[in-house]
Symmetry: C2
Subunit: 459 residues, 2 copies
């Protein structure tokens, strides 16, 4: 855009108006910010990254050409309001419960909003106001939710268009560690918000299996597993992820027999995690206080009866654990021994999170790995087929993670397509309509986020 040319336009044009505002510069933001800067360079756009941490802004924005870091405490509503008013489009990486506040301001100023988070009830309240103002609130546009929707809809609609009748759909995704960096008994390292790892499975878990709407209580979720062997990588297990049932209609699959969205972990993880839940270590309601110098064994002794000096065997006995690999994993994490507590008060989830951050962190040169698998069961011309589509993506290091890439690229591409007028919508929108997932899928494909698809005939 030639600014001198713009001067001849009517004064309604706001020269100070910037293009893209990114709220939050945390763990998943690196690739998003880099890619937005790259796109901004080509399109002559400006990107603003807002965060409360000056260190994060310095680290992630200072070397970029088209991007500016701005200090923002989101509780400063006036500044948040002014910043949103000064941009054409907002991407929020804030904690999901803040999205509805951002949405309300976006609606007020007529700005589109893009997030990678599940649509909450509070977000849904902004559907009608956003529609009235012609504002798009595009959610579930990261990895999972995000790429899963985009690629699933592409696959499902292709099978349908070719005359296939879909009987079953299963989709599993995991943010994992690459085999070359996998050096712990959980087969896992943390590549996103660790609290989400701890809270996984709380709330309602439902799916459709054999025509039945199944529900799994939290305390049995990590036993309701499906195994996948992925050649050259390893064996994984998936557990049901949240409530899959609303997506049956959203995916256009009402009448199918099986529909599961699940989360993938390396074999062994879920068995150990099951006992972490059984013990009560994921509880986030009750605050415990400890004397200085207390240990994790003393913490566990408030959940498990018996002698803190014999915690491993007390744990095994009370919870009925007969697999030494599981006990070894929990011992390696530091639960049974004299590992000192990092602070004197907190919930069990707080104390568990600290252990996990320390023991399951990605080291500087560690590579994370994303695996996404869709399995579609269908009948065509009287024959039964299974198509599997698979995305495996490995990160470069602890900053340029596959997680940051697969969350960031769809967000960046959605922002790009929106500003170019190639996708659009009004109200609360998910990337489930062909007009949205189609262009996004092509962008992901061009970027190199490509699914490998195989089909076998089963009769």
């Amino acid at each position: 855009v030639n600014q001198r040319f713009l001067l001849t336009l009517p004064p309604i044009v706001d020269f100070a108006m910037k293009d893209i505002l990114v709220l939050g510069a945390g763990r998943s933001a690196t690739v998003l910010i880099n890619h937005l800067d790259y796109l901004a360079h080509a399109e002559d756009w400006t990107v603003t990254v807002a965060d409360a941490s000056a260190t994060l802004l310095e680290e992630k924005v200072s070397a970029l050409k088209r991007s500016e870091g701005v200090h923002l405490n989101v509780s400063d509503k006036d500044k948040l309001n002014a910043m949103i008013a000064g941009h054409k489009l907002v991407i929020s990486l804030l904690p999901p419960d803040l999205h509805p506040i951002v949405a309300s301001i976006c609606v007020a100023h007529g700005k589109h909003l893009i997030t990678a988070s599940y649509v909450s009830d509070a977000m849904r309240l902004w559907d009608a106001p956003a529609k009235a103002k012609g504002v798009m609130l595009l959610n579930e546009c990261g990895l999972d939710p995000g790429i899963d929707h985009i690629s699933a809809l592409e696959l499902i609609n292709k099978i349908k268009e070719e005359g296939g009748h879909i009987m079953g759909f299963q989709s599993y995704c995991g943010g994992l560690v690459a085999p070359e960096s996998d050096d712990n008994p959980f087969g896992y390292k943390i590549s996103w918000n660790p609290r989400n790892v701890i809270n996984a499975g709380k709330g309602v878990s439902r799916y459709l299996s054999g025509g039945r709407e199944m529900m799994v209580p939290y305390h049995r979720l990590f036993r309701r597993l499906k195994a996948f062997h992925i050649q050259g990588i390893g064996t994984f297990e998936g557990y049901p992820n949240r409530d899959s049932l609303p997506y049956i209609d959203l995916y256009g699959l009402s009448g199918c027999n099986t529909f599961i969205r699940g989360t993938l972990r390396k074999q062994g993880y879920c068995q150990a995690w099951h006992y972490i839940i059984q013990a009560g270590l994921t509880d986030d309601n009750v605050i415990f206080r400890f004397a200085p110098g207390s240990t994790y064994a003393q913490l566990l002794a408030q959940l498990i009866e018996g002698d803190e000096k014999q915690m491993r065997s007390c744990f095994a006995q009370e919870l009925g654990v007969d697999d030494n690999n599981i006990l070894d994993a929990l011992e390696w994490l530091g639960l049974f021994g004299a590992t000192p507590l990092p602070f004197e008060q907190g919930t069990m989830a707080d104390f568990l999170e600290d252990l996990m951050i320390k023991k399951l962190a990605l080291a500087k040169h560690d590579k994370d790995m994303i695996i996404m698998i869709h399995e579609v069961d269908y009948v065509k011309d009287g024959k039964h087929f299974i198509t599997q589509a698979k995305l495996v993506r490995t990160g470069k290091n602890d900053q340029l993670t596959a997680m940051a890439e697969t969350v960031g690229i769809p967000l960046a591409k959605a922002a790009f397509l929106t500003l170019k007028g190639k996708i659009g919508g009004k109200g609360v929108v998910l990337p489930l309509e062909k007009e949205i997932y189609g262009p996004l899928m092509r962008e992901l494909d061009n970027f190199g986020l490509r699914f490998e698809t195989t089909t076998i005939q089963t009769n």
Copy 2:
């Protein structure tokens, strides 16, 4: 009171002012209403019983001399307001979440309120306003909470006054079925709100054991048991009841090693209930819809994987149940078979409640039974003692239950003592002060609700 004499008093006296208003005429109200009527006869008081059910009012009030039944839908705030304004004292048997609304009106009109429910956070908000108006909001004044507090404080303070140093306090209470009416594999019949039986243990369960503040997650609560054999009656098991820890200070026992408040069930009940929880049958969040003619086996097939025709063995296998007595109990309840569902949509808790109401109801001539046990461990003159105080009370039939008696009598006696000016207080009050529990204990004792106390020396 001679009304002709009152005519000579200044006009500020409201001749229409009645004495006691009872809100709710349900399951636990029978004995309360009868006893209030008896007291009202002696004291020349009037009692009003308000309920939304004309049948209940007819059944419980019509034969009484000093009591009047008034139709009241509690959502009719104007009528509720007018009724509270027209009485000197209110006893609320409404669902606990309605107590704070009643409290707000009581405070506005300067009327004392008595309930048998735990103090909620919402109730606590009325503490300061009630204090300002000189109103007493006396809660936890039924059986459990209620008689447990009253009798425990009496016992604890007696031991302290005699020079005992208390190391441990355990208190268990159960609303059970009398041995002569016990004819089902749960050893249980419903003598109070069945939904409370289903919801038991949800929320935080904590207690003090060996100096440690223990927490038990819901899914393991019915395995954290203490057994009691009660001569001539049977063997019982207690599980921790809610959060016991706040009561340590309230009971004046800070520094003790062990403090548990628990709920008592006949041996076998908790083992079966554990698997009801494991299956997910107590869930009250997710609504399920079923086709007409569906069965409980079909309902269970949405929680347990496998063939609904083999539900007993699928259940046993998935949950690892190896005790046939447990499976027999669950089969007797109707969970595994072709028992038709009573309605087409509801939560698992709704469907479970219907089964329990039908299978675990007190028959007309069945007798329920209340057992309350306190165990106090203490040291006196260098010797170690255990004092056990025990209340066992058997009901007369399905209306005049021990539960209705032990909930109703403390409420009635507290109302009596309040109106006679013998107990009193301001703000949110529990029967934990000598000035309150003392007179109440004497009334209970006179009525015949007497604890049997035994002390043994253990060293």
